[in-house]
Amino acid sequence: MTKLLEVADLFVRFPTRNGIFEAVRGVSFSLGQERLGIVGESGSGKSMTGRAILRLIRPPGKVTATRMELEGEDLQSRTERQMRRVRGQRISMVMQDPKFSLNPVMTVGEQIMEAYSLHANAGRAETRRKTIEMLEAVSIRDSERVLKAYPHELSGGMGQRVMIAMMLIPEPQILIADEPTSALDVSVQTQVLHIMDRLVTQRGMGLIFISHDLNLVSSFCDRVLIMYAGQVVETCKADELHQATHPYTRGLLESLPRLDKPQKRLAVLKRDPAWLKDISVGG
């Protein structure tokens, strides 16, 4: 399997009044044409990792890594202008709430077509055709109506599918999805996940799926990284997640209430300060 993305010793630091805060501390992993899940609680640094790869972290935040390569080409040394060619065209990002990531004053059609024309030199007719094709790929059937609609007129699930269409129309090699289904209802979640699954397999993309939902990640992804306090504490195959060994992962797994295993009291995770000192595990 070809390595699409290689990240080594990623650090994201923010200066605060009380010293330097390290949101991501020494994260290393590689991504092939697979579904990689990054799981963690709030503050674990999982979203920061995704943003750091796309160089979306603005000063005073500082991103450093000994290695950050997309198909062997270094990402860190690129200028902002060069990064704009990467974003969308080679690496794309889908975020949590389509209400906040779609422009409320532009129609859906305009936004998707803009996403396409930024990276391709196509005429208007061709762009429109591609847009409709993409909308159908995300199972939106009445594409004519949706093209003319504004984001607030769409339901959550439809908005998220539009977001995916917009992010995938330039045919990137990697998709980073940051909690893409957390704001969606359960029934719609499954639908959106199916779409992402299908698109990733069909196009041979790499997918980084960031979430706090252990069960979802372990059933959807191929490999999982578990993050805590800015570090990767464990990495394993998704279907082996329930045999994880790191005490944090075990603690998380055991503190989840289970429909099939009723308990009177849930095991509470005991945070060991020693975990903060461990070196990040590579993935």
Binding site: E41, S42, D185, V186, S187, Q189, T190, L193, H194, D197, R198, H212, L214, N215, L216, S218, S219, F220, G251, L252, S255, L256, P257, R258, L259, D260, P262, Q263, K264, R265, L266, A267, V268, L269, R271
Partner: protein
């Protein structure tokens, strides 16, 4: 006697040009000391039922009874001593400029309690908050700590019935376990009745003994949690919910 009885409740919202029906013909009963879960997705009307019960929404018809007393459109102090609510978002349910002490003492004063000081100490103890946090402001507390304060506030008037609106949805997994344990302990200690709303079946299954499933404002199925565990759902919507709670399944 049932703690809560709801019969054919309809709740609606009047917007500028039309009426939105949030709840249609809801009927449920929660026995004294019982724990009942209302499950559904956003917009299903589950939180609206809680708001109608507490009098925060007055555009409803049908019948609602708490401890045998029929409820009208307004509520009084006696009602607030018997039923309280814990809200979903711990970040929004505490006044940003009021310290923990202020929140609790105001609640106690409104209910005309005396020995406010010692009651505050007891309440903090009950919810597992160290007295060090007593004079802190909400922005100095974590999500779990804020939720504990919200629970302490709800328990201050010594109610017997607690309405819980998605009490752990905004919390991290590890914190959720602590709060769920706290709620279990409190229910046992004070013999409370719970009516809990959630979209998370596992959480409902953990705390409740009976559940009602809501979709588009209607209760589509009512069953015991035991039945739910053995996947004995009859309504297709319930079945779909159960399926997705098990995780993702490849096409």
């Amino acid at each position: 006697m049932n703690a809560i009885e709801i019969d054919k409740l309809n709740v609606w919202f009047d917007t500028d040009d039309h009426r939105v029906d949030a709840v249609t013909a809801a009927t449920l009963a929660v026995p004294l000391g019982g724990s009942f879960g209302l499950v559904g997705e956003s917009g299903s009307g589950k939180s609206t039922i809680l708001r109608a019960l507490t009098g925060l929404v007055s555009t409803w018809n049908g019948s609602m009874r708490v401890n045998g007393d029929t409820l009208g459109k307004k509520r009084n102090q006696h009602f607030y001593r018997s039923l309280q609510m814990v809200f979903q978002d711990p970040y929004a349910s505490l006044h940003p400029r009021h310290s923990v002490d202020h929140v609790l003492s105001e609640t106690l004063k409104l209910h005309r309690f005396d020995n406010i000081d010692s009651r505050i100490v007891d309440l903090l103890n009950d919810v597992g908050l160290s007295p060090r946090y007593r004079f802190r402001y909400p922005h100095q507390l974590s999500g779990g700590q804020r939720q504990r304060v919200a629970i302490a506030r709800a328990l201050a008037p010594e109610p017997k019935i607690l309405l819980l609106d998605e009490p752990t949805s905004a919390l991290d997994v590890s914190v959720q376990a602590e709060i769920l344990n706290l709620l279990t302990d409190l229910r046992e200690e004070h013999q409370l009745t719970f009516l809990m709303v959630s979209h998370n079946l596992a959480v409902v299954g953990h705390l409740c003994s009976d559940i009602a499933v809501m979709q588009h404002g209607e209760i589509v199925e009512t069953m015991t949690v035991e039945a739910m565990r053995t996947l004995q759902a009859t309504h297709p919507y319930t079945q779909a919910l159960l399926q997705s709670s098990l995780g993702y399944v490849r096409e």
